[in-house]
Amino acid sequence: MTVLTLKQKLAILSDAAKYDASCASSGTSKRDSSNGRGVGSTEGMGICHAYAPDGRCISLLKILLTNFCVYDCAYCVNRVTSNTPRARFTVQEVVDLTLGFYKRNYIEGLFLSSGIIRSPDYTMEEMVRVAQSLRLDHDFRGYIHLKVIPEAAPDLVNKAALYADRVSINIELPRDESLTALAPEKSAQGIRKAMGSVRLGIDQAADTAAKARPPSFAPAGQSTQMIVGADAATDGEILGRSDRLYGAYGLRRVYYSAYSPIPDTTSRLPPMRPPLMREHRLYQADWLMRFYGFERIEIAADNEDLDLAIDPKLAWALKNRGQFPVDLNRADRERMLRVPGLGVKSVDKMIEVRRYKRLVLEDVKRLARGLAKVKPFIVTQDWRPGALTDQADLRATLTPPQQPSLF
């Protein structure tokens, strides 16, 4: 067996980690290195240090500790039955790479995940050792995201959360039955239990915050990822699951990851082009639930999929034309947020402006991203849509031209 160089390991283990969508480095506690001996700071806002040609932000060094794995998850390039080249970092190598990259300002920190070697506990322990060495030996104050292995012992998970800013446990698939079929060693229930125990830890740390300096416990919360398009779940089911995950475990984010072809696939999951537009619509719908006051059921019922041609807010508005037009000079914030083409920022600006003057179409044009989509749904001092709101071909006129590059 040939000995791999560090660069070869880095190539293999970052390639193997790229199917995790999250690269967030925001929302953790504020800190810097001015009163320490090490390096690093986090100031609330995340920083994307580069963008790859897939349009994704590179904020963290996202790597696996190893891509050897005893599990056999059909959607994963690292499953035990795959012929992918294997590598394993030592704890020291990950620590050195993280610090080297960080000091050159390439990254905000580390996102460490791993294949399962020997046992879930052994693997989790190795990952915790990396975080512990960065924090204790090197006084590293940058961002650390640890992927939690749900089958690992709860005290190891708690230890991970003590050193990490964020922990995440991937729910992997929208349906429990699909997980049983495609990832035989994983259990949806085990995943939910681990999320539940992390949530209790976070709540407890927040509780003690009022009284004393809290032990830090995943100050940037927890997140998860769901693969879209690998099973038959509808968008309504997917959003329903997200809704419950947000509610039950206080997740900061649910990431949707369009099932992407991997080298060396299995017949259990034939390769296909990733449904990128579907992924995009799911993110938009997720936003509507979290920031625009929409209930999941208003966006898509269990047996429904999202409209790929138009965004979910416009789709809702076209189905509920009776709620429009909205008078931008009178309506409350909740109603304004439901107008297609108006975002949270533009709505808040309009509410400020209208305290001092009546809004006219020209104001809306400057505060929104364009008028075409907005006009049929609003009333301003100088504009009424009249019959436009109910016009039969409204959907056709508002549907953006198909982009052939998105498949």
């Binding site: 100031e43 920083i47 790859a52 349009g55 990259f101 050159r104 475990y249 390769p271 990128l276």
Partner: protein, 476 residues
């Protein structure tokens, strides 16, 4: 025409002083011209600015917050734009709140562009290590979109407090010696080191983390504009990555899948077999706990975190049966640990009943709830759920063999007695059960939490404690 001459491109104090004196002298925006030292003397007839009058005037707080970043913008129009805003504020005091006003919008756009340039500087500065320096030293060459070097340097001082570094730019250079920041005039790219051994690793990482099946070049370029590429070591790879992407994707989509090994298939079959619970009633509490967790007798498992079995003394004389796990019980996997559990604990203490000598469980083992926004709202389980879950309660009753079973609330009474058993009419009595145990009904502790009237609450609480004492005595 009045000419205001500023000491430098980022001379905010100079702009402020000049603007004060111009406005004090009633010089309208159209009659004022702004220039910076060294920009060439376009205006020969310089009329000195009038002396600033004491007292002056006030501006809304938001104006200074807006003006400071706007000065850092590269647009030559910025000084005049700010003066025009200052002028208009005299007669339009609310002007800054009108985001759709063209001047306000232009100034806010400039402030936004400056803030973005600062953010991109934090992102795209690439330090290179000076190899033979006595202490750890790094130098970067950077070309910011706007004049944000001085304003952004403190960020780097906080982040890299314990290493020496310099950021060289065409406008200004920032230096940190591990104690304080100082600035020198703009420099040249040749003044910075031209490489770093780790850059090759960084390029390796950049190329490997890219997923060719998700090519989205426009999205990349929007966030990482081409103007920054020449100073980013990784950007040189972009053309070849884009070019190879389609071929790599097509190859992956066209490949023949490999077959799963027989070992893996066997493993999956074993797992599905062991998950079944229909082989016979469980004979130990551990088997109950394991079985409850994988139970599929009704659909409640689907939205719950886990099944919550009972816990306590396996040979307890007294068993409590509640309704179902709540939000916290569902997360923790243990019965009665939430607010109702704390209420029960207090009442048990008052009644002199040691919880450790009892067994506590629920009629229904999964949390039935409704998702409302970010909260999970409790929903009472239906008779169907109670019936489906009786399998587990009966097993617990057979294993623990308590002398007395206390049903807490209506759902528990339904489960324990097999029929609706009103609480008010039956509490305080020992009711005979078919399995030789005696049954007692009382309120559910969460009912006590909900009684709105203080007097009624105290009465109900006292009754509840009485019932617990009664049951404990009955079991002793």
């Amino acid at each position: 025409m009045r000419v205001a001459r500023l000491a430098s491109q980022t001379d905010f104090a100079g702009w402020r002083a000049a603007a004060r004196s111009l406005r004090g002298a009633g010089v309208s925006p159209e009659a004022a011209v702004w220039t910076v030292d060294g920009e060439g003397d376009l205006f020969d007839e310089v009329v000195p600015l009038p002396a600033t009058t004491e007292g002056g005037f006030t501006v809304p707080k938001g104006f200074m917050e807006l003006a400071e970043p706007v000065i850092l913008h590269r647009s030559p129009e910025r000084f005049a734009l700010l003066y025009r805003l200052l002028w208009r504020l005299q007669s339009e005091p609310n002007l800054l709140h009108i985001a759709s006003d063209p001047d306000v919008a232009a100034a806010r756009d400039m402030a936004g562009a400056v803030s973005k340039a600062a953010h991109k500087m934090k992102a795209f500065v690439r330090f290179r290590k000076i190899e033979d320096a006595p202490e750890e030293t790094y130098v970067a060459w950077f070309e910011p979109a706007h004049r944000v070097t001085e304003a952004t340097a403190p960020f780097f001082a906080r982040r890299y407090a314990n290493m020496a570094w310099s950021i060289l730019t065409p406008d200004a250079c920032a230096h940190w010696d591990r104690r304080k920041l100082h600035f020198t005039p703009g420099a040249d790219k040749a003044d910075a080191p031209d490489g770093d051994a780790l850059e090759d690793y960084w390029r390796t990482y950049y190329a490997s983390t890219f997923n060719p099946a998700r090519l989205k070049v426009a999205a990349m370029q929007k966030e990482m504009p081409k103007r920054y590429w020449r100073n980013l070591p990784e950007a040189g790879l972009i053309p070849e990555l884009i070019e190879a992407a389609e071929g790599r994707t097509s190859a992956m989509v066209a490949q023949t899948p490999s077959e799963p090994s027989r070992r893996i298939v066997r493993q999956a079959q074993r797992l599905s077999r062991d998950g079944s619970f229909e082989e016979g009633a469980p004979g130990t509490l551990d088997a109950v706990a394991a079985g409850v967790d994988v139970c599929r007798r009704c659909e409640l498992w689907r939205d719950a975190t886990q099944g919550v079995a009972g816990e306590g003394l396996a040979t307890a004389r007294l068993m409590f049966v509640g309704e179902q796990p709540g939000d916290l019980e569902d997360l923790a996997g243990r019965p009665f640990v939430g607010p109702a559990g704390q209420m029960l604990d207090r009442a048990l203490a008052e009644a002199g009943v040691p919880r450790a000598e009892t067994y506590v469980t629920n009629a229904v083992k999964h949390f039935r709830h409704e998702q409302r926004g970010k909260r999970r709202i409790h929903q009472t389980p239906t008779t169907r759920h109670v019936e489906a879950c009786r399998w587990w309660l009966d097993a617990e009753r057979r294993i623990v063999r308590p002398r007395v079973i206390v049903a807490l609330g209506g759902t528990a009474a339904q489960a324990v007695f097999g029929k609706a058993t009103p609480i008010a009419a039956n509490r305080g009595k020992a009711l005979q059960l078919t399995d030789q145990a005696q049954g007692v009904v009382t309120y559910h502790p969460s009912y006590l939490l909900r009684v709105p009237d203080a007097a009624a609450k105290a009465t109900a609480h006292a009754a509840f404690v009485d019932d617990l004492r009664f049951a404990w005595k009955l079991a002793s």
